[in-house]
Symmetry: C2
Subunit: 642 residues, 2 copies
Amino acid sequence: MRAMGERIRVLIDGREFEIKKGTPLGEILKLAGVDGAIGGKVGNRILDLQTPLFEGGELKPIFKGDPESLEIMRHSLAHIMAQALKELYGTERVHLGVGPTTEEGFYYDVEVEGHTITEEDLPKIEEKMREIIRRDYPILRKELSREEAIRLFEDLKERYKIDIINRIPPDEVISVYQQGDFVDLCKGPHLPSTGEAGAFKLMSVSGAYWLGRSDQPQLTRIYGIAFWNEKDLEERLKFYEEAKKRDHRRLGRELEFFLIDEEVGPGLVIWLPRGAVYRRVLEDYWKEEHLRRGYHLVYTPHVGRSRLWERSGHLEYYRENMFPEMEMEGEGYFVKPMNCPFHIAIYKSKVRSYKELPLKLAELGTVYRYEMSGVLHGLLRVRGFTQDDAHIICTPDQVDDVIRETLDLALSMLKDFGFEDFRIYLSTKPEYATGTDEQWERAQNALRKAIEELGHDYEVDEGGGAFYGPKIDVKIKDALGRFWQCSTIQFDFNLPERFDMTYVGPDNRKHRPYMIHRAILGSIERFTGILLEHYGGLLPLWLSPTQVRVLPIADRHVEYAKRVFSELERAGFRVELDDREERLGAKIRDAELMKIPYVVVLGDKEVETGTVSVRGKREGNLGSMSLEEFIDMLRRKVESRE
Amino acid sequence: MRAMGERIRVLIDGREFEIKKGTPLGEILKLAGVDGAIGGKVGNRILDLQTPLFEGGELKPIFKGDPESLEIMRHSLAHIMAQALKELYGTERVHLGVGPTTEEGFYYDVEVEGHTITEEDLPKIEEKMREIIRRDYPILRKELSREEAIRLFEDLKERYKIDIINRIPPDEVISVYQQGDFVDLCKGPHLPSTGEAGAFKLMSVSGAYWLGRSDQPQLTRIYGIAFWNEKDLEERLKFYEEAKKRDHRRLGRELEFFLIDEEVGPGLVIWLPRGAVYRRVLEDYWKEEHLRRGYHLVYTPHVGRSRLWERSGHLEYYRENMFPEMEMEGEGYFVKPMNCPFHIAIYKSKVRSYKELPLKLAELGTVYRYEMSGVLHGLLRVRGFTQDDAHIICTPDQVDDVIRETLDLALSMLKDFGFEDFRIYLSTKPEYATGTDEQWERAQNALRKAIEELGHDYEVDEGGGAFYGPKIDVKIKDALGRFWQCSTIQFDFNLPERFDMTYVGPDNRKHRPYMIHRAILGSIERFTGILLEHYGGLLPLWLSPTQVRVLPIADRHVEYAKRVFSELERAGFRVELDDREERLGAKIRDAELMKIPYVVVLGDKEVETGTVSVRGKREGNLGSMSLEEFIDMLRRKVESRE
């Protein structure tokens, strides 16, 4: 029971007001003389004007255009879309799931009896939404008892809403919002009326399991984006257009990089010859960089005994992400979701002395993790991927140097791929944690010092570390301004205990080492997806599967073309000769489609003068030059990883 | 019922004898005036003197010293060993399983109640066997009815023998052999008496499941070897001694090449840093050789959907060799036992024209196959291994060239690893086969022609091919004279049908291509085991994880040693610097133990004259030379793969 007579103190724009507890936010703002707000922020909560306030504190009014205002508006657009669906397909045929906001818009998961919503339906739905906005219904909040709420949604045949009501804790208020004759179970916040909604566009339709569980019915997720004005919306749509052009799934197919085949299995990547050429270059580069820094490369199996995963704790804490168990001769086996236990087995294969530390074991280790097939996405979210993994085992004294060197390696490798803009996050000790205070402090200091010494800004996620140790995450910014999580440097105070890892110190006694997991690219598959989108498929020269294509104009130039081809190949470049009987225009177009960095066109003039005419995919026509000059240019670009 | 009155005609040494059907072999030989034989051969069967003959034909007497005579003698030694066990541990406590001969000796699988036989028991057992031989018991054959046999072995508490009797087909004769008071169920053949047995030695004790099935009791297998005289035995023991020294499991541990860890799982190989260095060199060489010959490298996942393995036929024909199924979202998945279906998916990822053929897809693909843990053996028999796999898809016209080129690649690569002596086998069409006669003929001709054109001998295994196509197998001879199966070139008329693989011909119509599976090394793991044993761990320079170790004699030589180390590293060699404060002798010994091909010793003289003093593990002391000369020598050896 709420005591309605009590009073609370609210601070607005530095002025304090004493008001009755339970007063709606809109009334409070009116009292304070604040005009035109569409909601307010109290602590971290965004509330609409109709929501009663029960706690005092600072109240920040939210106006149209404030960043927080978008969430209110997008939330109302989800309801407007739901109402549009009901009007289009009939109230009783449309069953609503959940309809939250997203970073750029909103979605609603719905079930429409007897009709499968496709992207072709979207314009019609948008039209109906605009009509509802024009009608400018007031959006009214109402609180109901649990029984009233259940009766209401039973009448509306909203089975998923009843499922939600049954999950609401007993002490929580149940509210609904109504606009016209449409009513929806909702916590809010919402606009005062539908007419206040901004510019929006419905973007896509996809499948989504109810509650995200594959044993539940599949609903249709209709996704839209929304901004306060048409200009912001247009800009965002242009971004999407660009992103679509760069979609790595499309590029992967067109450039023949990879294949995901239904018959082989979802989320399982097959690297086609061209993609494999690129991958080999990347892997060789990665191995060389690691060998130069004193890492040891190892190979470990893709399967391990259950008792190994039991000891590592994966069966207790990570099993839902693992592929199912296989049983042979009464023993369980799992395909590996991580490489750690294998690297630990290597560490433990002999007695280790402090003189051997830091020991850095690195592997391009292919791991398999269970993901629902619905969330898989090209190379960016898969079921099998190759981690560029390493484990560093060191003494406590070595921690600072090890971390600095590791972060330095990560950033310098990411730069080699053309990324310059990083966001670095430091996650520290959570409430429940393993390891001693001394370990946490030493580790966190090492992480902090490394970032600072390398001159980078960073954000701290206080208490955001895993229970087994603090970490650094590095995100890279791509050409479209998106940030992607790549590198992680993660302490682990747990596994050295579980596996009883030790080293013999100068005192001839056994000590517990520090262990650090780290990946730089994250996974080869995901990083390749990012690279393809970042470069729109036109990879830097050193990574391109084909670096040069040689195009003789006519038959009589083929002999010279073969010579040029051989010279380039001898110089160590990846070259193709296109001696098909096709028009030059067609040959050039084909090379462009395959995003080949350079084509060399050879006709009468080139044969006569012994030159090559070079056209760069990035630079355009570079004119005639001697083959030597061209080779020098290529060499320079490969060496500088331009 | 046997008609004892009938007569048969037997040919001995070109003379024909008519004898009563059912006459024991010994009597027949006596009749023919043949003296001193211990058995005879009729067709493919080796019979002893007591076995009655029911069919005519040529009878070849077997004398002591004939190759076939060993089998008779070894068989009797198995009985002598069984008798020795009964005398040592008590008749009723020893239960006999099976006791066959092997290529070099014999074994018996036994269960001894209340005692676990170990290798420490072997001298005692040998002693008792020699005693039984000295007693010179006649070995007597007797035929029993099924009921008599069961009663006899029930009395003897020989439960496994009863199991065997129950498996004998009803129309087969049941015989036992007796020597002294020891009697055993046995088909023979045997010596006339125990005193005729030759020189033998018991070698090992291991576990063996009854009937080879892991759900049956485990017996103890006692294994021995036997020859007619001490000299042959000594020679063989020397070979074993040498093989033991070269045992790749021991070398793999000592040289830190690999690890098989109980906790990780039997048959699952972890490559330690040193082994991984070698493996990377091998893999890079392999990739370069393949790229040079127009192969495309690809990467494929380690897991595939059940429907893929169903389509390929693996689930129908190969399931017992596969790891168990994993189920996710109602779909089955298997860890791959082969790479073929993935390479086929790549082939089928676009419409293929005859202009693209032959298409050669290659992968160092790690596959997993179920093997009983009892048969696993170091790197030679494992559960996970990396095939150096390729699939060649071509038109019928290309078959000859493709096969010649493939066999040539196989032999030239094997030669690069130092193998010169090959045995080549051609396996042809079996009775039940898929594919047309034309396909078989064309394929077999291509295989035959390729071997002949490359100037090699070969053996034909008529009808020994797989049902889906003929093949070539190549075995290599190692330093101990053993032959190891490595390369296989295998036609497949089955998978192109199952996966409906096609290419568009010059006639613009679809045609069925030929497909060839091939591996050259077989598997990287197994080939490494062979290499380690062949070279006794001292790998050729180009494959050695560490090529040179630099040893300063005293502290004052360390600076110069570092310079030498850097120069060698810059020249591209894998070098280590041993600057521990140890005596030179100890440093040299450690380098020898790690089988490092060259050590460079640096003392006052070397510092003064700016030279290096070189000691080769193979060549011994090579004296002083300039660093340049040394580098030249190394370079020559690496390039020639000496």
